[in-house]
């Protein structure tokens, strides 16, 4: 069996086209709580789109031109919606105990994506290039330096902050989200918890 055939076999075992782009769902997938993940994913799409425009035109444009300021506002509010949806998504998955039946890797990769998103948010605040950036740079450096992180990340180095925020971290997030989505679609939605109330009533 050659490499391509092996890869085909892996896909057949784990992720067919119907898994990747489902046309049917278990009937218990019937709640607004399932939309929070999609909400954070779509906010990420909005952030990448508005971020690409901001990166293309640069800081002077988004500070001083009305259109630039508006795109900057789209990015700013996109971050707020992204984290709001993400926190709701994480809370919903916690209260669903969504890690059951071997789904811890999905949980863990999602958590890692969240942690990287937090760092991306920090670099975003630093990349605003206004007083907020100055203040956060000098305030955040102490925690970073205390654990020795100052030797690899300097929040006052705009060159490093910009490249991290615009290139490196989005790639890492998109990669982690890709793995997260693969695991979600591979394993399918977790079954509902046993209905303890009904069990007690029938006892």
């Amino acid at each position: 069996m050659n490499l391509t055939q092996r890869f085909q076999r892996v896909l057949q075992r784990n992720l067919t086209l119907e898994d990747a782009l489902p046309t049917r769902m278990p009937v218990y997938v019937d709640s607004l709580a399932y939309l929070f993940g999609a909400g954070s994913l779509m906010a990420l799409v909005e952030l990448v789109a508005s971020g690409v425009v901001l990166a293309a035109f640069g800081p002077s444009w988004y500070h001083h031109r009305p259109v630039g300021r508006f795109v900057n506002s789209l990015h700013f509010w996109g971050v707020q919606v992204f984290f709001a949806a993400l926190v709701l998504h994480m809370a919903a998955k916690f209260f669903m105990a969504a890690w059951r039946d071997g789904r811890w890797p999905t949980w863990a990769v999602g958590m890692l994506a969240f942690f990287v998103a937090l760092f991306t948010g920090l670099t975003g605040y630093l990349a605003q290039t206004n007083f907020d950036s100055q203040w956060i740079a000098v305030q955040s450096k102490d925690a970073i330096n205390a654990v020795g992180g100052g030797s690899i990340f300097n929040p006052m180095n705009l060159g490093q902050v910009l490249t991290l925020h615009v290139v490196v971290l989005p790639l890492v997030i998109v990669g982690l989200v890709g793995v997260h989505l693969f695991l979600i679609r591979r394993d399918g939605p977790v079954r509902p918890l046993p209905d303890t109330k009904a069990a007690e009533a029938g006892r």
Partner: protein, 313 residues
């Protein structure tokens, strides 16, 4: 369906579903929400603190900040790694100081790099600075600091005369002349350039020195005026009436809690608590007894899957 899906969803009734339609609808909703918020509220953009503005508007704060560098009493003096060779001052916990493992990777000598080096550059254009600079360099470090401390003590009684700060007579050596030279450099708008001109790679975008210069009382005064010091929830405010990084509240809140609130090792303590309680614990929560049972005790899941439970009642 894949072999795995067949296994995991066996026996579960299904219903028609359109992934792409759902994605498009959610995207449209998110875009509409963001568009409305951006159109209604815009985004925060408080102007940067510039050396020129501080020198012109707050000359006493400017010279006080500068004199502290010479006196060795700035927040940067004796900071420890990664800026200065003061390993004893690195934050530590149980005798362990992680900052010392990596050493001084961003060396900054406050008096030399943030005051004397810019003044030497200014002296090329302003020859009156040459003699005070030579006098200051010719003195011992103890003498230099004594002059600067005496000057700092007198700044409270100083008067601003035009573009000069005039202190009452005292034993300040050449410090008043140096401070007024820095003030002129600051007012000219050339100080930031003079600070960054000394960095290792001149084409870099590293703004460390310019930012470190005003990190103390000047930045704090501006942050206070913008309600950004975060006395209750920590520093996660945005400038103006905008939501800040509220998702960092669990982290910034720790700075309000003893002993971190007042400990010189507070940053290290907070980071370690965050690493254990907010990173490792959530990551491995499914394996943590008690915590992994909480969802079963709080019946939010019953609301999420209510149609399923109704179906099987």
């Amino acid at each position: 369906m894949s072999a795995r899906s067949e296994r995991t969803l066996r026996g579960i009734p299904t219903k028609p579903y359109d992934l792409l339609l759902e994605g498009i609808l959610v995207l449209a909703l998110v875009m509409a929400l963001v568009l409305v918020l951006a159109a209604l509220f815009g985004s925060p953009d408080s102007p940067t603190v510039r050396a020129r503005d501080v020198a012109r508007l707050q000359p006493l704060a400017f010279v006080r900040t500068t004199a502290r560098m010479l006196a060795g009493s700035s927040a940067l003096s004796g900071y420890g790694p990664p800026y200065t060779h003061d390993p004893a001052n690195a934050q530590r916990l149980l005798g362990v100081a992680p900052a010392n493992w990596f050493g001084v990777t961003e060396p900054v000598a406050p008096a030399r790099d943030l005051v004397l080096a810019p003044l030497e550059r200014a002296a090329v254009l302003d020859p009156s600075l040459a003699a005070p600079l030579a006098a200051f360099r010719g003195a011992t470090v103890a003498q230099q600091r004594a002059w600067a401390r005496a000057y700092l003590g007198a700044v409270g009684k100083a008067e601003v005369s035009g573009a000069r700060v005039v202190v009452p007579p005292g034993a300040y050596g050449p410090v008043p002349a140096l401070m007024n030279g820095m003030l002129r450099l600051g007012r000219s708008g050339l100080l930031t350039g003079a600070l960054e001109a000394g960095q290792r790679h001149p084409y870099a975008l590293d703004l460390s020195r310019a930012l470190l210069f005003f990190q103390g009382s000047v930045d704090h005064a501006v942050a206070r005026s913008l309600n950004m010091t975060g006395n209750r929830w920590g520093i996660s405010h945005e400038t103006g009436p905008y939501p800040g990084a509220w998702w960092l509240w669990p982290y910034t809140f720790l700075y309000q809690v003893p002993p971190m609130a007042s400990s010189p090792n507070g940053d290290l303590q907070v980071v370690l608590i965050v690493l254990v309680a907010l990173v490792l614990l959530p990551l491995f929560l499914p394996f943590v007894p008690v915590l992994n049972r909480i969802p079963r005790w709080i019946p939010i899941y019953r609301w999420i899957w209510r149609s399923w439970y109704d179906r099987h009642r």
